[in-house]
């Protein structure tokens, strides 16, 4: 569904992303990990077509992001690092506007807005002005916006930032329930979230891919030395693997 090949982004001397290549199959949830400044957000912005890459290519559903941007944009829901909210509008007016520019037909617009508002639990504050909402509420409106028009691909940049523990679990359940129908790339710093939701893990560090495997596969590769009686050592946790790979 998503094919990223030899993606490079450089800003003058700084190489933010260096030769990143990976694939995401249809219906898969990919956990996208890396320390701050590793190039996660930059990569996601290039997948969605916000940022043109210095070289390399991205294909979404078989369409090149650069050559057929409209086809790609019709299939993508994107929650950026900062939720793109118009603080002077009410939640409902905002979601209605996003539904309209995403091409949802007038007849379905209201029901579509209600659907994503229920999914993300925005119902209680749907008539309030976005500027007066808390960070967690804004984050949920941002997520609702990404889900509008039922896109095949979801690119979520730290979707659970600013949420309280109960809401984190809700959002996690929501993302899990979207798997299968939707292809999801999820970036986060919360490693248990990856363990709970993602089938595959991609770790990047300093702009390079350092791991791309299933969680079990990663644990197998990074398992400790064999114990005295010949059994494999205890499986390392994702934290341990992450620290080992990104500290180098």
């Amino acid at each position: 569904m998503i094919e990223v090949s030899h993606l490079v982004k450089s800003y003058r001397d700084l190489k933010a992303v260096q030769d990143v290549t990976f694939k995401v199959e249809k219906g898969e949830i990919l956990g996208f990990l890396g320390p701050n400044g590793a190039g996660k957000t930059t990569t996601m912005r290039m997948i969605t077509g916000v940022l043109p890459p210095s070289s390399g290519s991205v294909k979404v559903a078989g369409f090149d992001v650069f050559e057929k941007p409209m086809e790609v944009k019709r299939r993508i829901g994107y929650l950026p690092e900062t939720p793109p909210l118009y603080t002077d509008m009410t939640v409902r007016a905002y979601l209605r506007f996003v539904a309209e520019i995403k091409g949802v037909k007038r007849a379905q617009r209201e029901s579509e807005v209600d659907k994503v508002a229920t999914q993300t639990n925005c119902g209680q504050f749907i008539h309030r002005v976005i500027g007066n909402l808390s960070k967690g509420q804004r984050q949920r409106v941002g997520l609702a916006q990404a889900l509008l028009a039922d896109p095949e691909v979801l690119i979520l940049d730290e979707p659970t930032v600013g949420l309280d523990p109960a809401q984190i679990i809700e959002v996690r359940e929501l993302i899990k329930s979207l798997a299968g129908k939707h292809t999801i790339v999820l970036s986060t710093h919360i490693l248990p979230e990856v363990v709970a939701t993602c089938q595959r893990v991609l770790i990047i560090s300093q702009g390079k891919v350092v791991a791309d495997d299933t969680l079990q596969g990663l644990q197998r590769t990074h398992a400790g030395a064999l114990t005295a009686d010949g059994h494999p050592g205890p499986a390392p946790s994702l934290e341990e693997i992450f620290l080992k790979l990104t500290s180098a």
Binding site: Y86, V98, E100
Partner: protein, 261 residues
């Protein structure tokens, strides 16, 4: 096109959800009314004076169009220079600062639709502001009776000229807003540019020959005046329309280029 209308509706929603539109209408009408009352007072004085001197030719020459509306339109045009920078400053700069432009970049909307939508929204504000000032000719019409009423053709042409000039100013403001993330910078630069198109006309008096013609052509207010006199000249229409087209085209490029920066 439907995307452009969606964006225009969103911009209008924000204009009316914040005090911007209301403040703009209030200021425009308050200052406009002040000028209108002054001009009306001057007209009254003149007609009284002519009556006292029993001078029918002078009386015949005194008319509402030349005495009131031509000057009024000139004044309203100058007020637009002061108000339009504050209307257009947020259009693109705010989207860049709040990062909401990423939403527009990742939805199936073209830069051209973004620019057109935003432009249509501020034109709608301009039309409403101008419509509010229609009270002045209507007031004159009701009090003057039929025989000596308002020349509606000339008045409406004047409004057409004001609309074209405002539209040209807004295209300039929209472009400048697309160059920066700071609304204050956008407003200041727009204001200076618009002011220049007005005061450059003052230097025309000192020049002569082709320089004089050229400077007069550059000054926006001189093009407005030929509309308020009740005449239509192709060169005035070309002047405003070319500024609008150029402004929108440049904004389109700037919105597209922002992603590459």
């Amino acid at each position: 096109m439907s995307n452009a209308i969606a964006i225009a509706k969103k911009e209008l929603n924000i204009y009316f959800a914040t005090p911007i539109a209301y403040v703009m209408f209030t200021l425009f009408v308050v200052i406009g009314s002040y000028f209108f009352l002054r001009l009306l007072g001057a007209y009254e004085q003149a007609s009284l004076a002519y009556m006292r001197f029993q001078s029918p030719e002078m009386m015949n020459r005194l008319n509402f169009q030349d005495a009131i509306f031509r000057n009024l339109f000139g004044n309203l045009g100058v007020i637009l220079i002061f108000i339009i920078p504050f209307l257009t400053m947020r259009l693109v700069a705010e989207e860049k600062r709040q990062k909401t432009i990423e939403l527009l970049y990742t939805t199936p909307v073209t830069p051209g639709e973004i620019v057109l939508g935003k432009y249509l929204a501020c034109l709608a504000i301009l039309v409403i502001a101008l419509a509010l000032t229609l009270t002045y000719p209507l007031l004159v019409q009701f009090n003057a009776g039929d025989q000596n009423g308002v020349e509606w053709r000339s008045v409406l042409l004047g409004y057409g000229g004001l609309f074209l000039m405002g539209a040209a100013y807004m295209a300039i403001g929209l472009f400048i807003s697309s160059l920066t993330e700071s609304q204050v910078v956008a407003a200041l630069i727009t204001f200076v540019v618009l002011l220049m198109t007005w005061i450059i006309g003052w230097t025309a008096g000192e020049a002569e020959g082709w320089v004089r013609d050229f400077v007069t052509y550059l000054a926006s207010v001189s093009h407005l005046d030929s509309f308020s006199k009740g005449t239509v000249d192709l060169k005035d229409i070309v002047y405003f329309v070319s500024i609008i087209v150029l402004g929108l085209f440049a904004t389109n490029r700037a919105v597209e280029a922002h992603r590459w920066s």
